[in-house]
């Protein structure tokens, strides 16, 4: 290039650079006439474009480093998570074996005393032994409930269409069969199908329907409903009962682990069932909530992320 650049050439270069041509520069003579305005402007534009190219390269390099670093962190966390899960698996497995054996001894030898030394014990002594047995059995139920809770997080999800109507009917059939003397009315909507993990959905219904059954235990006729409603354009399943209900003031405690709103004297329980339901529902992408009134029953609602 021997002549001075023109302003048209300068604007053309700036245009080209602005649409992504990183190499676009204004052609300037080797011995530029620095008293020519166009020449001075062209040189300035070239400097700016060089600067821009440098900054872009630096940014890209920095971005690559961050990207690699993030990927490394993700890989590290994934490995940590896999390790934690494995430890949890081993821990739960130990619990299954090691915690139950001593409980069996407590229960078994208390019973042995009651049977083999009945004549040497007065009524009070026998009552103490029965307390020991009941406590051992309660602890066994707690262990089982905690293991179920831990399985919720550990297990793999298998999504499929699940006949909730049939599931609910089989749960209530078993409840009625185990307590044939109880009078109950079950209202279960037909044709309810959910998309989710069949086993986990079963645990939800076992817990919610089981609770409804338990807390209607003092009613002459229990009434338990299972159905679905539209709630903010999402389907919400519900289990409603006419049982003991609960005080809404303590509603936020319902789903805590080991939290109970009734004393053991009123209704037995582990205080883990609803925590399990909440964990499952969250894992399945939904939420669970409840409303109730003391003495007038309760309704538990849950939504699921049913996906495509």
């Amino acid at each position: 290039m021997t002549r001075a650049p023109t302003f048209d050439e300068i604007f053309a270069t700036m245009s080209a650079a602005s649409v992504g041509d990183a190499a676009a520069r204004v052609a300037v003579p080797d011995d530029p006439q620095l008293d020519d305005l166009a020449t001075r402007f062209a040189i300035a534009v070239n400097v700016l474009l060089d600067d821009l190219a440098l900054r872009s390269a630096e940014l890209e390099a920095a971005h690559k480093v961050t990207q690699t670093e993030l990927e490394r962190q993700v890989a590290e966390r994934t490995l940590e998570l896999a390790n934690v899960n494995q430890e949890l698996e081993a821990f739960s497995y130990s619990v299954a074996h090691d915690l139950r054996a001593p409980l069996r001894s407590l229960d078994g030898f208390s019973q042995a005393l009651l049977e083999d030394y009945a004549d040497k014990l007065d009524a009070e002594g026998k009552r103490y032994l029965r307390h020991i047995r009941e406590s051992a059995q309660q602890m066994a139920r707690l262990i089982d409930a905690l293991l179920t809770l831990s399985r919720v997080t550990r297990s793999e999800l298998h999504r499929e269409p699940v006949d909730m109507t049939a599931l609910a009917r089989s749960v209530v059939a078993r409840l009625q069969r185990d307590a044939p003397e109880r009078r109950a009315e079950f209202v279960i909507s037909d044709g309810l199908v959910a998309n989710g993990d069949a086993r986990l959905l079963g645990v939800i219904l076992e817990n919610l329907l089981g609770n409804a059954w338990k807390f209607t235990g003092k009613r002459p006729v229990a009434r338990i409903e299972f159905g679905v409603r539209e709630e903010d354009s999402r389907r919400a399943y519900f289990v409603r009962d006419n049982g003991a209900g609960f005080d809404m003031a303590y509603a936020d405690k319902l789903f805590g682990v080991f939290q109970r709103l009734h004393s053991a004297a009123e209704f037995e329980g582990t205080g883990i069932g609803l925590a399990t339901v909440q964990r499952i529902v969250r894992r399945l992408g939904g939420r669970v909530w409840a409303n109730g009134e003391v003495g007038r029953g309760a309704t538990f609602h849950f939504t699921l992320e049913e996906g495509r």
């Binding site: 074996h97 001593p102 069996r104 078994g108």
Partner: protein
């Protein structure tokens, strides 16, 4: 005939051993009960070697009540080795354990157990389970014919 049948109880926990024996006694099951306290002892008994070298190897128990968590050699390993030998491959084995973890059930049945019974904490239920096991395996069930070299 029933009374000649031997039960091999493989159990490392002495309290569980005592409770099981008591439950069998209470249910009038008076058969000889041999107790092995770890996996190695169980195999020594089944193969008539080690501490049990003087035993007739052809005389097998009518049923083995097998705990899974054992010292030295695990219950599942005992089962696998028993199944790998001609003489003991048809031996009735009932896994009797605290665990109801799915993987134990799967491994137990895959390794060839005949039955899997969970030991309940409630002693009455436990005694009832032992009673049913005794009655079934000693009285009702027809054991396999002898196999292998005698």
């Amino acid at each position: 005939m029933i009374d000649e049948k031997v039960i091999l109880l493989v159990e490392d926990n002495p309290k569980d051993e005592e409770l099981t024996l008591r439950a069998l006694r209470k249910n009038n099951i008076r058969n000889e009960i041999v107790v092995a306290r770890d996996g190695a002892e169980a195999l020594d008994y089944l193969f008539a070697r080690g501490a049990h070298a003087g035993r007739d190897p052809g005389a097998l128990p009518a049923v083995v009540l097998l705990d899974l968590k054992l010292p030295k050699i695990s219950g599942l390993e005992v089962l696998r080795r028993a199944r790998a030998e001609e003489r003991t491959k048809l031996l009735p084995v009932v896994i009797l354990t605290s665990s109801n973890e799915e993987r134990d059930l799967l491994e137990g049945y895959s390794s060839g157990c005949n039955s899997y019974v969970r030991k309940p904490v409630d002693f009455n239920q436990f005694a009832e389970a032992v009673r049913q096991l005794g009655l079934y395996w000693l009285a009702l069930n027809e054991g396999p014919p002898p196999t292998g070299r005698t």
